[in-house]
């Protein structure tokens, strides 16, 4: 049944025929979920291997604008959940997707987002198997919010855990920092920032598999999303019970990102990423890990940025170009000026 409406109305959330039309025309015809309405019944042989474990995660996505250079909210909703599974060592299998849609949202936009999700899911090797939609009053949300949940399988014997990081382990990132955050800022328009920046939004499941194959001693990985690399490393260091020392000169930054940060006074270590992970590997496996990552399109920018060191007063520090050591804090709230 083709949907004739150009825009989503409250009727599309009412539970009647209009809603059914929207769901079929925009969502299920593209995602093509298996099984019954409102429930996916699934089987995968890998789940039955002795010692295999189920991984399960969920995340909500709110991005302004919903489409930006390098991606859109749909792509992020897939990548984000796939990456949460992948960095935990799981092979992502299935996703759910729930949409909160603002009254007045363009149907064509929804179609583009859904197509983008389907494309990214295929690339990441996952299926979107169930979902939901709700329509809210104009102004009650901003265009569209998406929540995805994901299920994956952790192969027997694999156990990535930040608690196993030890002093001497090497920290590697796969990608330049801050592209997503900077691209979103640029895309907001009100800054009239003309840059070629694109979000780094990408799925990291295949990269993680290649990495673990090359560096089986890999300790732990995280994707450095909201709060940036700084927040991610603080969390990892706290969990590990050691500290992390970064090397300022080694941090991979695109000149455009550096430039935007220098103008706006932002620290790229706190900018969000959507396809950047940080992984700790034993020093002996660092070169193998780097080579394996660089062989993949998602890991071409792989480089060592620092290492774990014995626990110090603060979890994360940055050795600066002139040799001082700056504290890289976890922020309590928004970054407020502190200089008196």
């Amino acid at each position: 049944m083709p949907l004739r409406d150009q825009r989503v109305t409250l009727a599309h959330g009412g539970g009647g025929k209009a809603m059914r039309d929207l769901i079929e025309s925009v969502f299920t015809s593209v995602f093509n979920p298996p099984g019954m309405e409102d429930q996916a019944r699934l089987m995968d042989a890998r789940l039955q291997e002795p010692g295999a474990r189920l991984a399960f995660t969920t995340d909500s996505f709110v991005v302004t604008p919903v489409e930006f250079p390098g991606g859109d909210i749909g792509k992020i909703a897939v990548c984000g959940t796939v990456n949460d599974l992948a960095v935990g060592g799981a092979k992502p299998l299935w996703l759910s997707a729930s949409f909160i849609i603002e009254e007045g949202c363009e149907v064509a936009l929804l179609r583009r987002l859904v197509a983008s999700m389907a494309r990214e899911a295929a690339k990441a090797g996952v299926r979107i198997v169930t979902g939901d939609t709700k329509v809210v009053n104009r102004g009650a949300c901003d265009t569209v919010y998406i929540t995805t949940a994901g299920v994956g399988v952790i192969p027997p014997g694999r156990d990535l855990d930040a608690r196993s990081i030890r002093p001497g382990d090497v920290a590697i990132v796969n990608h330049v920092l801050g592209d997503h955050g900077a691209a979103i800022l640029a895309a907001r328009g009100d800054l009239m920032l003309s840059t070629d920046l694109e979000s780094d939004c990408q799925s990291l499941g295949h990269l993680m598999e290649a990495l673990i194959a090359a560096a089986p001693g890999t300790k732990a990985a995280r994707d450095a999303t909201r709060g940036g690399l700084a927040s991610t490393l603080n969390e990892m260091a706290e969990a590990a019970g050691c500290s992390v020392e970064l090397d300022e000169i080694a941090l991979p930054l695109r000149p455009e990102v550096k430039g935007v940060c220098e103008i706006l006074g932002l620290d790229p270590l706190y900018l969000a990423n959507e396809g950047t992970l940080v992984v700790f590997v034993p020093e002996a496996e660092a070169q193998a890990a780097l080579a394996a990552m660089r062989a993949m399109p998602e890991g071409q920018g792989a480089c060592i940025i620092g290492r774990a060191v014995p626990k110090a007063h603060v979890p994360v520090t940055l050795r600066t170009a002139f040799g001082g050591t700056r504290i890289v804090d976890m922020l309590v709230g928004e970054q407020l000026p502190r200089i008196c």
């Binding site: 800022l185 907001r188 009100d190 800054l191 009239m192 920032l193 220098e262 103008i263 706006l264 006074g265 932002l266 110090a312 007063h313 603060v314 520090t317 600066t320 002139f322 040799g323 001082g324 050591t325 700056r326 504290i327 804090d329 922020l331 309590v332 709230g333 970054q335 407020l336 000026p337 502190r338 200089i339 008196c340």
Partner: protein, 732 residues
């Protein structure tokens, strides 16, 4: 009938007992003297006890500070006068600050005798104290002199009450004391060090509280090399020379001479005469000078005959190096040779920085020679022990106990990991030395100050109340407290960089009304966005851009800053993207400095632009100020009108004097309305002597409370926080 005389103050470890003994011998008095936990206790009998008591104050040794002499009648009955050892319970608790080499010791190292040329000569009236202390009581075994057993000759001096080395804990001579050497090795370390300095080399020199990097202050090439190696392009470098040499290069008043010669031997900012290379302090009207304060310095300056740059030996942002191995590792890239010795530095203490104004002496950096001196608490506040943790960039800790406040030495910028380590160590160190256990903890309102976080953790661990104090309230309380103000209602004029306000915005140009416990914001400078957050502090033109836009002078901003990303920042400011509003007075100085073209696009040290403006304004101290109000609406049009054909120095002076008037007008109104005559002036901007003097002049007739020992900058914050905490504890 004899008397029991109690002497309170800084009376231990300063030669007070031998002084009393000598006084008693002279006046024919019998009895005894001893140290105990409260100070010095004297039992005295004989004729002329009144004269004896008066002399205790009038003739006290140079490092002593007598706060009180209390006497009562007592049975004494002694045949002679004796110095008694302090009993086990009467532990000596006072620790005195390090003191510059006294005249007698400085002469001794130059005269024939066993200490000729000896770099570690000292006596009861001078020498290291806090920097060598490892524990209490203060006793050689609890200092870094412990590994140097006294030779017979030194022991004899140490045990003779008539000798100026009686109980001088670090007493030493070439026979038994620390040894000096040069790396690479040389037969005569001082002669060779001097030769290298005169040849333009840079030396790392181990001093009292840390290593210095030194070079010949008359050699522009050596200065350029030092700046390049240290990555320190413009920040002023401190100088050391004997008084006669300072006279040749600086304008000295008798007060300045006296301050230079103070046992604390601070760096004193003095107007220069343009006789030394400009690279020592680009854009500044003053140079920071200190006198030699150890025998090593005296001998080295004798050998060079020239003023020396003596800047702290550290990596950018890190604490000063104190260990020999650490120096070899960290300073190797800076220094051509090392002048070292084997007396360990127990405690890192920077050189203090002070200046003189028409309003008296002001400490800008409280450090070696001043700590661990204490400040009296104003009467009326409870005697509860509290610890206050201060600010972020000029961290210092304050402990209160027994009616006094111990404000720690300058600890530095807590964004640096090693400095944070020092801060945590100093916290434990001061608490242990002064047997202090806080019943409350005070911190700044800013949640992301490292010091605030540490304080919050300590309060939780100890299970004591945490008191958050607004930044400028703390500045105000510190100035009031130093003046001994007892309460009621006072006005606080705080011209500052910035601090978090009670409304969640950033304050910094404030007139507050209230008391130690509470204030309200009575008036403030019109706020402007800080585009780029902390970057606005490093790039003054950002503030000029915002202020000019506010004043409808955007096209002037376009002309003044053609190459800056103005459009993006204007949009960021309009969209509220990392452009918080602030009423900061410091940023207002930055804005004007940028308009005058005297500030680099990016500053290389804090305060650079404001200090350049102050230096210019000093050329026209009596220039009539621009007329404007705290809304600043008419300020920028006046500057814009003058800009094409008025000397920048005159504009700077009109702005500075106009600001003083604007502030004073509003302050008088607020004070009169509230019925108070007490006005506190503080905040980092009042380190500017011109601004301070103009504001004081405009507030003539009021009772002004100024920061003196506790710096006007954030180095004094902890003292104010402690006072606010005490007042709140009392009112709770």
């Amino acid at each position: 009938m004899g008397r029991r005389i109690r002497v309170r103050g800084q009376v231990q470890g300063v030669g007070f007992r031998p002084f009393v003994w000598q006084l008693a011998e002279r006046l024919g008095i019998t009895g005894s003297v001893r140290n105990d936990a409260e100070g010095v206790l004297i039992l005295a009998e004989g004729p002329g006890l009144d004269a004896f008591e008066a002399a205790l104050r009038a003739e006290a040794p140079p490092l002593a500070r007598v706060d009180a002499v209390e006497s009562s009648e007592a049975e004494v009955r002694a045949r002679d006068f004796t110095i008694e050892a302090s009993g086990p319970k009467g532990a000596e608790t006072a620790v005195t600050p390090d003191a510059a080499t006294c005249g007698a010791c400085a002469a001794e190292v130059r005269e024939p005798g066993r200490r000729r040329g000896y770099a570690f000569t000292n006596c009861t009236h001078c020498g290291p104290r806090f920097t060598i202390l490892t524990g209490l009581p203060y006793d050689r075994a609890q200092t870094t002199m412990a590994p140097f057993p006294l030779c017979a000759a030194c022991r004899a001096e140490y045990e003779d009450p008539a000798d100026r080395r009686f109980h001088a804990q670090p007493v030493a001579c070439p026979e038994c004391g620390p040894r000096l050497w040069l790396e690479p090795a040389a037969e005569d370390p001082i002669t060779e060090a001097a030769r290298r300095l005169l040849a333009g080399e840079i030396l790392a020199i181990k001093g009292l509280g840390g290593f210095h990097l030194a070079c010949d202050a008359t050699n522009a090439q050596a200065i350029a090399t030092l700046r390049a190696r240290k990555h320190r392009p413009t920040k002023p470098l401190a100088l050391m020379a004997p008084l006669a040499l300072i006279h040749a290069h600086a304008t000295l008043t008798p007060d300045a001479e006296a301050l230079l010669a103070d046992p604390a031997a601070p760096i004193v900012l003095l107007p220069h005469r343009g006789t030394l290379p400009g690279a020592l302090a680009p854009g500044q009207a003053t140079l920071g000078w200190m006198l030699p304060y150890t025998p090593l310095h005296h001998l080295l300056l004798d050998a060079t005959g020239r003023p020396l740059v003596m800047t702290s030996g550290n990596l950018t942002g890190e604490p000063q190096v104190i260990g020999n191995a650490e120096a070899r590792e960290k300073l190797a890239a800076f220094a051509d040779a090392f002048l070292m010795h084997d007396r360990d530095i127990a405690r890192r203490l920077d050189d203090g920085v002070e200046r003189l104004t028409t309003q008296g002496r002001m400490v800008l950096r409280r450090a070696r020679g001043r700590t661990p001196g204490t400040l009296a608490l104003p009467r009326g506040l409870p005697d509860t022990p509290v610890t206050a943790y201060g600010g972020q960039l000029k961290a210092a800790i304050c402990l209160t106990k027994n009616g006094r406040a111990l404000l720690s030495h300058h600890l530095g910028d807590l964004d640096d990991a090693l400095t944070l380590g020092e801060f945590l160590k100093a916290d434990a160190d001061y608490a242990a030395l002064f047997a202090h256990r806080p019943k409350a903890i005070a911190v700044d309102l800013h949640p992301d100050f490292r010091a605030s976080r540490h304080g919050a953790e300590r309060a939780e661990t100890l299970g004591v109340p945490l008191i958050r104090v607004q930044h400028h309230h703390a500045h105000m309380a510190a100035a009031l407290g130093e003046a001994g103000w007892r309460g009621g209602s006072a006005v606080g004029v705080i011209l500052d960089g910035l601090g978090l306000g009670e409304d969640g915005t950033l304050w910094g140009g404030e007139i507050l009304l209230g008391d130690y416990a509470r204030v309200r914001r009575a008036a403030h400078l019109a706020p402007a966005p800080l585009p780029g957050g902390d970057l606005a502090q490093r790039e003054p033109w950002r503030n000029a851009l915002m202020r000019l836009d506010q004043a409808g002078l955007s096209d002037l901003a376009d002309r003044l800053f053609p190459d800056q990303p103005r459009a993006m920042l204007r949009r960021a400011a309009a969209g509220g993207l990392n452009a918080p509003l602030s009423s900061s007075a410091g940023r207002l100085f930055d804005a004007v400095a940028a308009m005058l073209g005297i500030a680099p696009a990016r500053l290389s040290y804090e305060g650079e632009a404001a200090m350049a403006l102050e230096a210019l304004a000093a050329q026209y101290p009596d220039a009539p100020g621009y007329a404007f109000g705290l809304d600043l609406a008419s300020l920028f049009p006046q500057i814009a009108r003058d800009l094409p054909d008025t000397p920048p120095a005159l504009i700077a002076a009109r702005f500075q004097n106009g600001l003083a008037l604007a502030i004073a007008d509003a302050t008088r109104r607020i004070a009169d309305e509230a019925g108070t005559r007490t006005i506190a002036l503080s905040g980092g901007c009042f380190q500017n002597a011109g601004l301070l003097e103009a504001t004081c002049a405009a507030l003539d007739g009021y009772s002004l409370c100024l920061p003196r020992e506790a710096p006007a900058n954030d180095g004094g914050l902890a003292f104010g926080q402690a006072l606010v905490a005490l007042a709140r504890l009392e009112s709770a």
